[in-house]
Amino acid sequence: MVTTINSLDKHNRLSTQALLQLIYEAMEKGETDFNIDACGQHDIGGPLWHPEGKPLTFKVTNPGQRVGSMCMENTTIIVEGSAPADVGWLNAGGTIIVKGDGGDTTAHCAAAGNIYIGGRVGTRSGSLMKYDPKYEPPQFWTLKNAGSFCFEFMGGGIAVVCGFDSEAFESVLGDRACVGMVGGVVYVRGPIKGVSTKDVRIHSLEDQDLAFLKKELPVFLKNIDRSPLLKELSVWDEWQKIVPLSYEESHGYKMANLKTFRTKEWVEGGIFSDVFPDNGDHIGLVNTGDFRLRAPVWENQKFCAPCEYDCPASIPTQRRYNLLREGKTEQALELVYLFSPFPRSVCGQVCPNPCMDKCTRIYVDEAIDISGLGAVSTPPPPPPPITKKEHVAVIGAGVGGLTAAWQLRHLGYHVTVFDKDTQIGGKLTNAVSRQRLTQDAIDKDLEPFKHMDITYKLGKPVTEKLYQQIKKDFAAVVLATGAYTPKLPPWPGKERLITSLDFLAKVNKGTALSIGKTVVVIGAGNTGMDVVFGAYASGTQHVTVIDVQKPNAFQKEIDHAQGLGATFKWPCFTKEITDKGVLLDSGELLEADTVIVAIGEVPLLDYIDDAHETTRGYVNVDANYRLANNVYAIGDMTKLGLLVDAIGHGRKVADIIDAKLQHTTLAPTIEKLIERDRLVPQYFDSLHKDEILGACHDVDRCISCGTCRDCRLCKESCPEKAISRIQKEDNTIEYVSDYHKCIGCSICSGVCPCGIWTMVTAPALFPDGKI
């Protein structure tokens, strides 16, 4: 039996609900076959099933939307004529045949079963079709063409668009087919345009495709009663298939290749190639060679150590210790004699040692014992032979004159020394207290002067006439006659005064002196302290030292004077020297048996016939110590100073004269102090006072500021192994950083204890040179 439902009774149309209820009732009674003359009712045909699984058949005319929606297996729906939208929506297994056209979204979301359309289908047909692998894939056949946006988001199944009777269309798939398609296959015959190629690929058919079409096309045509078309539609090269790109293909990196664009299509060579040539290669964040931001420089002995810098004679103690560290004791000794002939007396005893004041070792424990190092010096080697023809005169045999003579002699000159005294040494011998300076040290330092082919003309003051002769006879003349004329203010009774130099000269010669029990010393400088020592040594019981200002003698000397019992008074302004002592402006009388004045001396310049200027009694010279044509003046003649100042002058003037006479340029001297933060004293552990064993052991304490101590820290620390240690022919060493290896990390400069390595900011680089 077939149940026939006519949905229109005259003018009364069954509602969708009423029609479907009739179907349900008939099925309850076991009915399986229906002829439905519909009138636009929706949802005819599914989801329905027979309890025993018998097939259900619906022959429908004039259906409404969603015919066959959610249709199940064993259901067959045959629509004679066309059907509106959503044919086979969510088809779950039914066979749905529409012999005319399908509407929009035909086969929307179909996941099983077969849908056969004998005409055209509308927009978005086949969209979101799926394939459940537990069942056969859904098939969706269309004889003619499909509207735009068909097969959107298709996830599976097989769609076939046969393209019959579609010559009027530019594309049998409308526009923008297959947007978002991720699964399944669409077979299509005829022209297609606007397919979403970002999602799918269009292919020719392959064997399995042909097999499928050959098998199923007759079935389709038979179902829609168009079997005669088989031959026309079986021209297989008119067919293509559309398959989705794989996940990898559609999500892979599909960027236009920028490098290809730049090198092939962009302005040739780059838009800046006329002003800034640039090959476009790029580099990393760490580089070598010219591409370093900073580069290391090995600045050995380019800067003074603090000791060297503060020593008026520029003695490079750090270099002496480096030589000692290398076991080169003799060279270490030679080195000091290059700078000063008076290591024992001056460095070792009388010098206040400014070299030690800023010793870097102070940041660790205490300063290197440079004074002690001077004291243990042994006699110098004999001087080299005289090699130069010129004769040089030195007038004055004090430490300045003697140093000049020493240096000139070492430079190979004939040297003649003149002095009014009968012995050499000047103030070293006749002014400095023996309490500050031992005779032994003086003797040892002066002894070499007697064995070095220097001509001495002693015991005869240089007069103007002699001076004129000397200037004629000698290629150069060094004036070093010191300052011996006491400064004496016009105090009434000043004739009662004894001058410090007279007094000290007598003390040092051992002349017996009778100065009484009380002594007043005017002037609290270092000479004043020498006078105090001399006075106590001569039997005085009490010494008072006065000054107009705070005593400026070294604290060590003041302490010693106070230890002897001296009292200091200041400020005291002397009004008059009486037979009772010193009368001050304040009216106070300082009683004294003897008053000794030690407020300084000025040079005696009466023999100098050259035009010269003076400042407060001291002769003015230029930066090269030059007074006149071939005449140079050094030491206290130019300004009162320390003995070591005169030593420094003596060495420098010798070099200046040598350069002048030999027409050479003066070798540059190291003048800059090494910066504190270049040094790394952290490497040195601080020692307890007990562990500091004196000058001879300071070889391990000296940091060697500014002079490479050859410790190899830089070489060992360099992460790029860029640093090499080079032993040169003259036995010196050099560390070299390899331009091609160094990345400019500054580790070498950071770890160098001596501050030798430094990082130089490499200048900005431009392709056509540096700016």
Binding site: A256, I743, C745
Partner: protein, 545 residues
């Protein structure tokens, strides 16, 4: 006895950034120090000294060792700026910069009495109106819903003077509608312009990367992006190429580079996309451009025609004294220079008076004003005093809205396209910012800082790096030092920018679809809501919470 530390000495804790360093993880490879363009790191030696006793009774034994360690240079000159290159190169993640909240650097870093200068955006005005605005009208069930993926969208904005329908010279001839007279040039371009970063401010590579990205987006992706040159002139080779059509040439008060531009005119095979007369910029309103001498390298000297020195553009165009005069002189001259075929626009720093200026320009009877660009307080720059960056300027959002509504009131909206800039993309989404600005009345936006951030710039608005003024840019973007320029992978930089813009384009559609617009929703403020009542009131958009 160690070196004395005095109270006024600068130590690490006085600086904006501190180095977080783990000596145990460090291999002493030196890469962090080598890479630091700011010389803010150095190798130091630490002393470890202590006395131990390892016996059953006190048996003192002194242990002493030293250790090389990477440390921060604690000076105001070579201070860490937080760029993080050390962290990038460290093979063992042993080092990184950390923001120091105890910093005294802003108070102390004034050598010789000089104010702090830097690049980047404001570090103070980071609260943003745009982030409190949401696209609140979703039309899925009401208006026809659009599909961002499938529908066609017209993402185009005008650059050039748009005539009203009644002004268009048309007549009917032979039954055909024809244009019968001259019309001002109008280019329909992408609503985002790569904005105004000069050759000089940017390295050659960074500038070229932006230019290449512009060309690729146009040629390969059909996105009509335009790039504005900035005031440092134009590369001659680019001017002679077909790509000139994507470039907007800027003239600013310094007039740098125009000699070469003028000389190149006979050899131009394309017209430029536009001319932008720069009056001011949002990052430092009231100032002219500033290029520090450190960046005025030889090629910059050539292109700009000046010697190495700090290049300060005057705050005003020297020949202009009023709006009327600027219309007459500058607009006329630049329109004439390109034979009235190239739109000429003006860029000003947003200010209290911007609406009046816009109103005046709208009345220009010659139709030679092709765009009004306003730059807000959150704009970036290559060099400015921090006082200007942080404390001068005008927020751009309400100003754009005001200007738009002023035009609406006269029925003149859209006649002179409104372009807004200043902090666009500052919180990450250029598409959202542009879209919201457009809904409020802008025709488009221009962006600069985010562009260089896409190229690789690591500066941000919380004080990281921003040393664009120093020439020491660690990423090779704002420097002319070849060593640093070469760090920048020009292809990768351009590619990142292209990728971002492609995503912006997709995002744009994602914003246009739900509100149902297939062309740019200029002035569609009904699409927006604000979660801030005062903002909502000021902008005349719904308040929601």
């Amino acid at each position: 006895m160690e070196t004395t530390v005095n109270i006024n000495d600068i130590t690490e804790n006085d600086l904006n950034w501190k180095i977080d360093y783990d000596a145990d993880r460090c291999t002493r490879c030196g890469r962090c120090i080598a890479t630091c363009t700011f010389a803010a790191l150095e190798m130091n030696v630490e002393r470890h000294a202590f006395t131990v006793s390892e016996d059953k009774t006190p048996e003192p034994k002194r242990l002493f060792s030293t250790l090389p360690v990477v440390s921060q240079v604690a000076t105001l000159k070579d201070h860490c700026v937080g760029c993080g290159m050390c962290e990038k190169v460290c093979p063992n993640t042993a080092i990184r910069p950390v923001r120091n909240h105890e910093t005294r650097e802003p108070l102390l870093n004034h050598p010789g009495g000089s104010p702090i200068k830097r690049g980047g955006r404001t570090n103070v005005s980071v609260e943003r109106t745009l982030d409190k605005i949401k696209v609140g009208r979703i039309s899925q069930m009401t208006d026809p819903s659009l599909d961002a993926q499938r529908h066609t969208f017209d993402v185009l904005s005008p650059l050039g003077r748009v005539l009203s329908p009644t002004e268009i010279p048309i007549k009917i001839e032979n039954n055909e509608l024809n244009i019968s007279g001259k019309m001002p040039p109008v280019h329909w371009i992408y609503p985002i312009i790569f904005g105004d970063m000069s050759i000089g401010a940017l390295s050659t590579r960074a500038w070229e990367a932006v230019a290449i990205a512009t060309a690729v987006l146009n040629e390969k992706y059909n996105m009509p992006i335009r790039m504005a040159s900035g005031e440092g002139g134009m590369p001659v080779k680019l001017m002679k190429s077909k790509y000139l059509k994507y470039m907007i040439l800027q003239v600013a008060s310094g007039h740098f580079g125009w000699n070469r531009i003028i000389k190149a005119m006979p050899e131009m095979i394309e017209d430029p996309a536009g001319i932008l007369i720069k009056i001011g910029q949002g990052a430092k309103p009231g100032d002219g451009g500033l290029l520090m001498a450190a960046k005025v390298a030889k090629h910059i000297q050539e292109i700009r025609g000046v010697p190495k020195s700090d290049l300060l553009s005057p705050p005003n165009h020297q020949g202009l004294y009023s709006i009327e005069e600027s219309v007459q002189k500058m607009f006329l001259s630049f329109n004439a220079a390109f034979k009235f075929k190239v739109p000429v626009a003006i860029k000003v720093a947003a200010s209290s008076s911007s609406v009046s200026v816009y109103n005046n320009l709208l009345r220009d009877p010659y139709h030679i004003v092709g765009g009004f660009f306003m730059d807000g307080i959150q704009g970036g720059t290559g060099a400015a005093m921090e006082i200007s960056l942080d404390h001068t300027g005008h927020p751009i959002v309400s100003k754009t809205r005001d200007a738009y509504l002023a035009a609406v009131k006269q029925g003149m909206q859209g006649r002179i396209p409104l372009w807004a800039g200043g902090g666009m993309g500052m919180t990450g989404s250029l598409a959202a910012d542009a879209f919201k600005m457009i809904c409020l009345g802008a025709n488009g936006v221009f962006a600069g800082k985010i562009i260089i951030q896409l190229l690789g710039c690591i500066g941000n608005d919380q004080g990281r790096c921003n040393q664009c003024n120093t020439g020491l840019c660690p990423t090779g973007i704002t420097t002319q030092d070849y060593r640093l320029v070469k760090r920048l992978d020009i292809d990768k930089a351009a590619e990142t920018l292209v990728n971002y813009m492609l995503s912006v384009d997709t995002e744009f559609r994602k914003l246009m679809a739900p509100i149902g617009n297939s062309s740019l929703p200029v002035g569609r403020s009904d699409a927006l809501v604000s979660v801030d009542k005062d903002m909502a009131d000021k902008l005349q958009i719904p308040y929601v919470c």
